[in-house]
Amino acid sequence: MDFGFEHEYDRRLRVALVGCGGHAYRNILPALNYLPVELVATCDIDQRRAAAYARTFGAARAFADYGQLLAWAPEAGIEAVLLVLGFKDGLPQYRDFAIGAMERGLHVWMEKPPASTAGEVQHMLAAQRETGRTVQVGYKHYFFPALTKARSIVESEEFGARTSMNATYPLRLASADQRAAPPRQPINLDLCHPASAIHGLMGDIDSLWFDRAANGGGIVALRFVSGAVGVLHCTSGKSGTSPNERFEVIGERASVVVDNVVKLTYYRPGKRGRPEEGYGRTPEFFGPDAQAPIHWEPEFNLGQLYNTTSFLQGYVPELYHFIECVWGGRQPDHAGLRDALHLTHLYEAFRAAERNVVTLPRLEGAPQ
């Protein structure tokens, strides 16, 4: 990807932002500075917030009514909407917003979670297929630079087949009472993060089983369509000062670790010491340089793009991918509605998976 500053791009996608909350303010709108977009309008049920966001981030118009925005879109040449909506009665409200935009010919990028039921995602998929619009969900973990790099490593011939993984994330698993009252489960929002990271690294999930601790923490055992297995440690009781996440994938005599989003270590196939030395007879821990672990982390001293949140947390890369897909007339490689459907199936499976193995519906085109 060749990133520039917004005003430097020859071609810019004309977009409207819908939903003026703190997440949009901190993370989505600042990312636009580095993307080939032109923010044309903002929209929020609070007209004053919409107007303030429009002024701050350079949009010409602000709307309090989504229908009016959609009606005005053709006249303004708006090509896509960025939906960053809050929950309504504890549930995501993207389906109707997204379908409404697609029916008016607009491409849609929406934040996660896109839905609380697979049925909602199916509705959006049907609309997407009928309209041919590009639709992407803001599962940022598919686009973390460190996880993207890790994905390229685990897909390499040298790494071999992915055989197992472990992950840490402070997920709070819903209680049995909460799970009995679908579609609300408190984990929907947080599950998106580890689930999309794991899916991006390991491919489709075949089945899961979990055991829940009293505070909502616990462990989730996973089997993948590929035959690999994994475990997610849900560390909901952890300290507020410890990093949230760590992902490790094991291949065939190789492994890769992404720690706290930005630190990536690739342990290549190799051995400590000289080849002829047996266990217990190795006096130094180095091996051949070609087998040495590789470690990357950002330099944080410099005013660089790569150490900004917009890039480290995948906001710019995910939106850039969306724009590329819009211009290419195609669906996203990652974080499209097919992935959204799979991850929503996973979310739904949690209802019955406490100490039970639950198998997910198998989708076409499984990334493995």
Partner: protein
């Protein structure tokens, strides 16, 4: 301040010990600890009398080398016997339970390295012999004595440390879990599992106590596994056995989560305690620091100094496990860490693993 030791020759009283076995493990990891313990090595045994002689001469037992355990016990009358041998019965089971029994019956205290036995029933029998003879028995489960794990245990147990109850525990160790059930003691996977299951399960035992149930999944190739577990104390556990990991990546990673606090032990030697604290409200906080009293605590050994604490025999708990045993034996009391009951818990998990992947298994209470 860390714990201090006296050198062997400085001790007022020294336990007279014999050592059974001349493995590379004994050579590297147990015998070099002797100079730092209040003990005197008086004899060596091995079926290979030449090796027994070489070890005896090298580690201070002179020419007291034996290839007959009974004769050693009769002629040398050790107060304690340490056992670390790889010798096996014809069916692949370790001979160590037989040696432990023989030494206890001879009136000796016994420290036996893992695997102290090949089956849970063998350990149950050893418990009976121990209780009948009244001697001290220690099991060499080194991860129970890692200084990092001991400190993590102390943090979890100390109400003033603010960890709260243990909620969940995750342990990563490249254990070779048998890919299917019904394999014999002599099978390579079973032998490998028996040799190493002590490490991840010993760590879990030290921090979380005994397991109540386990549920094993293996990858399609039968190489790597994940084990979901429930502790009798109520916490949940996750074990990742990445056997096909790179040979250059660390073996171990452990994370214990409490109530607003967590502990990470990385590569055996580095411990970070994330205390109960928060850097501030979500979305409006521009630095990640807390007051000092809530900041994460990290310890790792200083590696440039000629210290004991940075020697692998103490980083890996060998020295601590032997010192704990020597002090208990000298006082004629039981050990409290690395007991036969601990060994029994490990072997119950081993036997569950040997049933192969599949259903969730409840472990017996005793």
């Amino acid at each position: 301040m860390g714990r201090q030791v006296v050198f062997a020759h400085e001790a007022d009283q020294r336990l007279r010990v014999a050592f059974l076995g001349t493995s590379g493990h004994a050579f590297r990891n147990y015998l070099p600890v002797l100079p730092f313990l209040p003990v005197r090595l008086i004899a060596l045994w091995d079926p290979d009398i030449g090796r027994a002689g070489a070890f005896a001469a090298q580690f201070g037992a002179g020419d007291a080398a034996y290839d007959d355990v009974a004769r050693l016990l009769e002629e040398r009358r050790p107060q304690a016997v340490w056992i670390a041998t790889d010798e096996l019965h014809a069916d692949g089971r370790s001979i160590q339970p037989q040696l432990v029994t023989q030494c206890l019956e001879a009136g000796c205290h016994v420290f036996c390295d893992k695997p102290i036995a090949s089956t849970a029933d063998e350990v149950r029998a050893l418990i009976g012999v121990r209780d009948r003879t009244g001697k001290t028995v220690g099991a060499g489960i080194k991860t129970m004595h890692y200084p990092t794990h001991t400190r993590a245990h102390d943090i979890i147990q100390d109400p003033a440390a603010g960890f709260g109850e243990l909620v969940s525990l995750a342990v990563r160790y490249p254990l070779h879990a048998p890919p299917r059930g019904g394999l014999s003691h002599g099978d390579g996977a079973v032998k490998s599992c028996l040799g190493h299951v002590w490490h991840p399960i010993g760590a879990a035992l030290r921090l979380g106590g005994p397991l109540r149930s386990v549920h094993l999944l293996m990858d399609r190739g039968g190489r790597n596994g994940v084990l979901g577990a429930t502790f009798r104390g109520g916490a949940v556990g996750a074990f990742h056995f990445p056997r096909s990991k790179s040979g250059v990546s660390p073996l171990e990673h452990l994370e214990a989560v409490g109530e607003g606090a967590d502990i990470i032990v990385e590569n055996a030697a580095q411990l970070t305690y994330y205390r109960k604290a928060s850097p501030g409200p979500y979305g409006r906080t521009i630095d990640s620091f807390t007051p000092l009293e809530g900041g994460p605590l990290t310890w790792r050994p200083e590696l440039s100094l000629g210290q004991l604490y940075n020697d692998h025999n103490f980083i890996q708990g060998y020295g601590q496990s032997l010192l704990h045993f020597v002090e208990a034996a000298a006082a004629a009391r039981p050990v409290t860490v690395g007991t036969l009951e601990d060994a029994l818990e490990v072997l119950k998990v081993h036997e569950a693993l040997c049933r192969g992947p599949g259903a969730e298994l409840e472990l017996a209470e005793r």
